[in-house]
Each structure stands twice: as C-alpha cells, then as structure tokens.
C-alpha cells in the first residue's frame, strides 16, 4: 500500500476533516468513522475516505443497465442491482401513449433482456422510475454484460476515464460502465471479450492497490500474446 493510504474498518477513528461519500461517513462530532471497510488517503494534510464496499442506491439522472425481471399491465419491473426494483413504463419505452389493443408488450421487451436506461425519479419513498428516452438508451441488443461490485466502478473508469480508455484501446472493445455495477462490452471477437473481462475482474479484486493501470495493461498484453490476438 502506498504511503499515506491505509485500510480502515467501521468504527475506527478518522480526523473530523475527512471527506468522502456522506452516507459512508459517520460524524461523531469530534471525529468521524467509516461506515464500511474502505481506504483513507492522506494527501497534503487532507483525508479522503474511499469506501471499498456498498450497495447501489439510485440517484436521479444516473445511467444504469437494468435486467427485465417481470411484466406488469403497463410497465416492466427492472432489476438495477439495487435494493429497490425499478419500473419502466411502456409509454416511456414507446415514446407515445400505449394502446393495449394494438401494442404487444411481450414483443417489445422480454424477461431477461437488458436495457440501458436513465433514472428519472427516485426519493426512497417510492421505487425508482426509468426512462429510455435519450441518446444511446434502450434495449441492449449485442455484446456481453459483466457484473462487478458497484463500489468498483469509479476505479474501473479511472481518473478522467484513463483505465476504461486503456482497456478499450488495448482490446478494441467498446465498454460502458454503468454506476450500478454492470458493464456492457461490445467486442470485435471472443478473445478480446475474454481479455477485457479478465482485466475488469482484476481491477475489481485489486481496486485498493496502486500502480494498477500498469499491471492491467501488462495483463492484457500478455493475454493478447498467449491468445494470438
């Protein structure tokens, strides 16, 4: 572990000036404590807490990848890898009013389909609603979905998209990492797909270590040699 970085467990004392996601920092007045296992990064006298665990809680505006798990009369139930099940209405999916006489819902989306959607509204009192009205949103028709812990997504994307761009360039895959811990891969061939997944899983496992971008790059290059990509 690099200098100034240490792993902390719930209940440990952190300085009161520690910053980080509010829901994972408990304020005790004179000190703060992490609510989950995480890393404290000390730089220039400032303490930043990065949680290593946590579940995905939807926020308005988030782009998520959802799995259709059920169908209602005018809506679908979508699993967005969160404690709250999301709802996607047929009206929103079609972009026009829904007429059950002429429109067949089961022809639009089936159970097991993945959709890329945006969280339209969520306030914890009601389940989140999704919208697919937007650029690049809608049913996912090709590629593969990889699931990782939602807390690993910032590391997989990297600073200014450095990590995700590197994997993309090295493997030739088109990668979209959604905040809810699902990653969509569109790869030119199966080998590149496998390599990209290996790289993503390595980041998930070793998220708290330093010099990870370099090691992931080395892993991809070695795998490419072995597989002859």
């Amino acid at each position: 572990m690099a200098k100034g970085r240490r792993i902390v467990a719930p209940g440990e004392q952190l300085p009161p000036d520690t910053t980080g996601p509010e829901e994972y920092l408990v304020d005790h007045g004179e000190w703060k404590s992490p609510a989950t296992l995480g890393i404290v990064d000390e730089r220039d006298g400032k303490h930043v807490f990065i949680p290593l665990q946590g579940v995905y809680v939807p926020r308005k505006g988030d782009i998520v990848i959802g799995l259709i798990t059920g169908q209602g009369i005018v809506n679908w139930f979508v699993d967005i890898n969160s404690p709250y099940q999301a709802i996607l209405t047929v009206q929103d999916f079609l972009g026009r009013p829904f007429n059950p006489m002429t429109d067949d819902m089961s022809k639009l989306l089936r159970i097991g389909d993945y959709v890329k959607a945006q969280v339209q509204a969520f306030d914890r009192t009601r389940n989140p609603t999704l919208t697919v009205q937007g650029e690049g949103l809608g049913r996912i028709v090709e590629g593969k979905i990889v699931e990782v812990l939602p807390s690993r997504i910032p590391r997989i994307i990297g600073k200014k998209h450095s990590m995700i761009n590197m994997i993309s360039e090295e493997t030739g895959c088109e990668i979209y990492a959604a905040v809810n811990g699902r990653i969509h891969l569109k790869c030119p061939n199966e080998d590149s797909e496998t390599i990209a997944i290996l790289a993503i899983k390595k980041i998930e496992r070793e998220t708290h270590t330093v010099g990870l971008t370099e090691r992931v790059k080395r892993l991809i290059q070695e795998e490419k040699k072995v597989r002859g990509v």
């Binding site: 467990a9 829901e23 989950t36 579940v55």
Partner: protein, 242 residues
C-alpha cells in the same frame, strides 16, 4: 475449594478445568466471506463453540407489509443446528431461540445505519454449528462481522463475551460445563468504539460489585474481540495486495 455437591471447577493452582486463568478467553478464530451466495458471511469460533453467520440485503422484503417507511427492517434468526449439541436438538425454533433472535437483533440495531435503506430488509442468519457455551455472544460477534462483510453501513462493530460466576469467582468466557455449574452467567455485547453496551443479561445471582467487575472484564475482552474483527476484515484486502 469444592462446591457442596463435591464438584470443583478450579484446579489447585487457581486455573480453570481447561487450564485457563479466570480472566482468560478461549482461543478465538474468525473468518469472513465463507459463503459464496450470501452478501456477507462470517465464521467465528470461541474455543469449541462454532457459529456461522450469513447476511443478505438490503433487499426488497418478500412480505411487503413488514417494510418500514423510513428505515430498513433488520431480521435476525438465531438457530442451533440439530447436531450442534451432544443430544439432538429439534430443528424447530424453540422459545429460547426466538428470544435470542430478538436479543441479538436489538444488540445490532443501534449500530446498523438502517435509515439509509428505507422500505428494505436486512436478513441476518446465525447458525450455531457446535455449541459449547457462549453461543449468543459468539453469534453476535459473527453477525457483526458478516454485516460488515456485506458492506452494510455501520456506526461501529459489535463484539460479545459472557462472564460467569463460579464458586464466588468471576470468570471470563464461560464454556458449557462451567455454565452448568455456575451461580450466574452474564452475557455482554458492546460496541467499544462508540462506548455503547448493546446486550446485557444476567442469569443467576450476582452482587452489585460483582456486576460492575464482571462488566469491566467483559468490556476489556470485547475491546480485543472487536480489534480482532477489524483485522480479519482488513486481511481480506491486505492479502490481495500485490
């Protein structure tokens, strides 16, 4: 000094029958992430007592009516496996298990930040695999570890240990045999980081002084247990370090 019935629970050198000093705990072993399917899990051993805990959630409760509008509902099930005792225990939940489930739930509720996940349920399953005294406190320790392993936000970690009174002497972490002949048994659960006692029971007769001394013994031991919990949680990541 022997009891009236001739049973003696101390050796001549003052140590207990298993060789421990009165203020000595049994060897403790902890492990997290033992179950693949659960969101968080832990196995804790206090000597021969062996407890497995699994945590699922926060998730949408199957029975919607149990959901609370402004916080998550914590459900705890303490259960002893039929093979955990020397004589087969009926797998049906007994009066004692229902009570312990409640007591452990109440020992965890003050530290789990349930208000972050309204209308959801967090399920904690505690399964006693081998019982040799102190199963509720071992179960509480395992549940706290499993909750932390599941990434559920917590104010602090909880640990538990029981203090017993045998032949007018206070002893730490009593086992089954000592419990059977003890005058009193006092299980304690606490979150030392925030100075909170979350579980406190007494079964038997103890004087005020004995209670205070016993509590001090227990809290000192819980401090060590919670520190151990932290180390175990961190070791999962330290091992993966390159």
């Amino acid at each position: 000094m022997a009891r009236k019935d001739g049973v003696t629970l101390f050796r001549e050198d003052g140590t207990r029958l298993d060789g421990r000093r009165p203020d000595e705990m049994r060897p403790i072993r902890m492990e997290v992430g033992v179950l693949e399917n659960a969101d968080g899990s832990a196995m804790v051993e206090f000597g021969r007592t062996k407890v497995l805990a699994a945590v699922y959630g926060p998730r949408e409760p199957v029975q919607k009516y149990i959901a609370i509008p402004d916080k998550a509902v914590l459900r705890v099930r303490y259960h002893m496996a039929p093979f955990s005792t020397s004589e087969r225990k009926s797998p049906a939940p007994s009066r004692r298990e229902v009570e312990l489930s409640k007591v452990i739930r109440e020992a965890l509720e003050p530290v789990v930040l349930t208000d972050q996940f309204p209308r959801t349920a967090i399920d904690v399953f505690i399964e006693v695999l081998q019982a040799d005294g102190g199963t509720r406190t071992t179960g509480l320790t395992a549940a706290s570890l499993a909750l932390a392993d599941a990434g559920i936000p917590m104010r602090a970690l909880v640990g538990g240990v029981a203090v017993g009174k045998i032949q007018d002497k206070l002893v730490l972490d009593i086992d089954e045999f000592e419990d059977n002949y003890a005058e009193a048994d006092m299980p304690v659960g606490a979150a030392p980081d925030i100075g909170l006692v979350t579980l406190f029971q007494i079964n038997g007769v103890m004087t005020r002084e004995e209670v205070m001394k016993g509590l001090d013994m227990a809290l000192e031991a819980i401090n060590k247990i919670v520190e151990m919990e932290k180390e175990v949680l961190k070791s999962k990541y330290v091992k993966a370090e390159v």
